[in-house]
Assembly symmetry: C2
Homo-oligomer: 271 residues x 2
DNA sequence: CGCGATTTGTGCACGGCTTCACAAGCGCCT
DNA sequence: AGGCGCTTGTGAAGCCGTGCACAAATCGCG
């Protein structure tokens, strides 16, 4: 494929500053890029300069072939026989994800969860900046979290415009979520991360991602249920021994789980 | 397929209490069942007794064909020409997910996020019960959240055993996550919901699901970036008008979005 | 300068998931 | 009783994603 291979002089690789838009990057790949990015930052802090696909795959918890294919989709810049330049790859991925400058984010709903999200330090280090805290409860207005004051929901439109906010997080109770979403969309927000357990109706041009704690637990519950059933089927003698050896050591080998979710990844059990 | 069609007397449907284990339920289906369940509860509260696949699909934000196939996988009990009995379907799904009795969950890490999770009311109503709060910080030990005292991490093994806990939530800082996971696994936990931004190494028999706020935002950021790029490509004249029409009107159409994520999808707004 | 070791990039085949389209089934109305 | 409209359940086709396996490329060393 090689989306963008400017010249064909190998080695010189004159990086053009105009990044391609990657309109056809597979959705599954996009969802993994952030994980690669995190792993890369971790490796960079540890002092590494380059990393092989195998190594990065292990750090990100995926198959190395998958990782190579993912990176190749964005015209990747690895060197055969060596690996990937970590700094360069970080820049590449950040550029693709649009994280070159910190994006301003609005957070609506400063209850329990909202407080936690507002206080989340990992925000700034990962390309985002909370630019506005909003709540409908006037008793919460004025409170400062991390130096940023909570504003009343009626200032939503003004704040979105002022900070050119295009991404918002909804951490309100369910009954308020749709209403807040409507106002956000009307104000110009085009991406929403929804923590309220409900389906939001929005226009086609708006992206919504949802995080629902209970859903995640219920999925786990199913697997738990299934394990228990099949364990009843066979004897329960195996369960105790396997569990005791929780001495988990690194893990070089490729994983090989079954499905979509990046669930688990084994590790070598040092006996 | 009709996994389990006991007799063939239509209408009488003598529910046998022994539920099949559904060892081969597609992973994608499992991930959607909780959403259906939530929608069904919502509909039941609104007084409905039955619901068509079209209606339930709209409420859950999916395609109706997908929904029918999902339900058919569990030997579904719809009635042609009528729809699905809501109460019955709720029971079915809860049974499949193993939510018939409330599952005990341990929550490790009672910082900002942990507090929020512990205080999340939607837990009990959706099949779970927080049975243990744990933290390494002795200053937090003893504090009560929702009537449940925070215990020291060293009591982990005892508490897991005492309450027969098989599911745990990790809400600790990154540096502690792996260590906590190891102890949980050693204590017998076989499902982990991880909020720490790192890959956990666990044995094969343990399921891990991960929730990472920053990753979700970065995925949104990509789409935002892409939208901005293509908008620059064309004139920016369209952007304002489209946004103003946030008056979301019903929508029967099958909203053909692109990818995996259950992004968007409208619901019928009763006018 | 050439060779071997190493690692990337990718063609290919397979499996799973999604979507369409329609036959079969059910209730209601006449 | 019979027909009609509505809705489920599902065969079949197509698409997307995954993972294998290997050719191409690069480095280091003799």
């Amino acid at each position: 494929m090689s989306h963008q291979r400017n010249g064909n002089q190998p080695g010189t690789s004159v990086r053009r500053s105009t990044m391609p838009d990657f309109p056809d990057l597979p959705e599954a790949t996009i969802a993994r890029l952030p994980e690669y990015l995190r792993a890369l930052h971790h490796l960079a802090e540890a002092g590494h300069e380059t990393i092989s696909s195998e190594g990065l795959a292990a750090a990100a918890g995926v198959n190395s072939a998958k990782l190579r294919k993912d990176l190749s989709h964005l015209g990747s810049y690895g060197t055969r026989g060596v690996g990937y330049d970590i700094e360069l790859l970080i820049e590449q991925i950040q550029s693709v994800l649009g994280l070159t400058e910190h994006r301003a984010v609005a957070l609506v709903g400063v209850g329990n969860l909202g407080h936690a999200l507002a206080g989340y330090a990992g925000f700034g280090s990962r390309g985002f900046r909370i630019a506005a805290l909003l709540d409908a409860d006037t008793r919460r207005v004025g409170e400062e979290i991390n130096g940023l004051p909570v504003r009343h929901i009626d200032e939503l439109e003004a704040l979105v415009a002022e900070h050119a906010i295009s991404i918002a997080v909804i951490a309100t109770p369910v009954h308020a979520a749709q209403q807040v979403a409507d106002r956000l969309v009307a104000a110009g927000v085009t991406s929403i991360l929804n923590f309220a357990p409900c389906v939001l109706a929005v226009p086609d041009n708006v992206d919504v991602r949802k995080v629902d704690l209970a859903i995640e637990l219920q999925i786990l519950s199913f697997h738990e249920h299934r394990k228990a059933s099949s364990a009843n089927g066979r004897a329960a003698l195996e369960s105790v021994p396997t569990v005791t050896t929780a001495k988990v050591a690194a893990a070089k080998l490729p994983s090989g789980k079954k499905a979509s979710a990046p669930s688990t990844i084994r590790a070598v059990i040092t006996p």
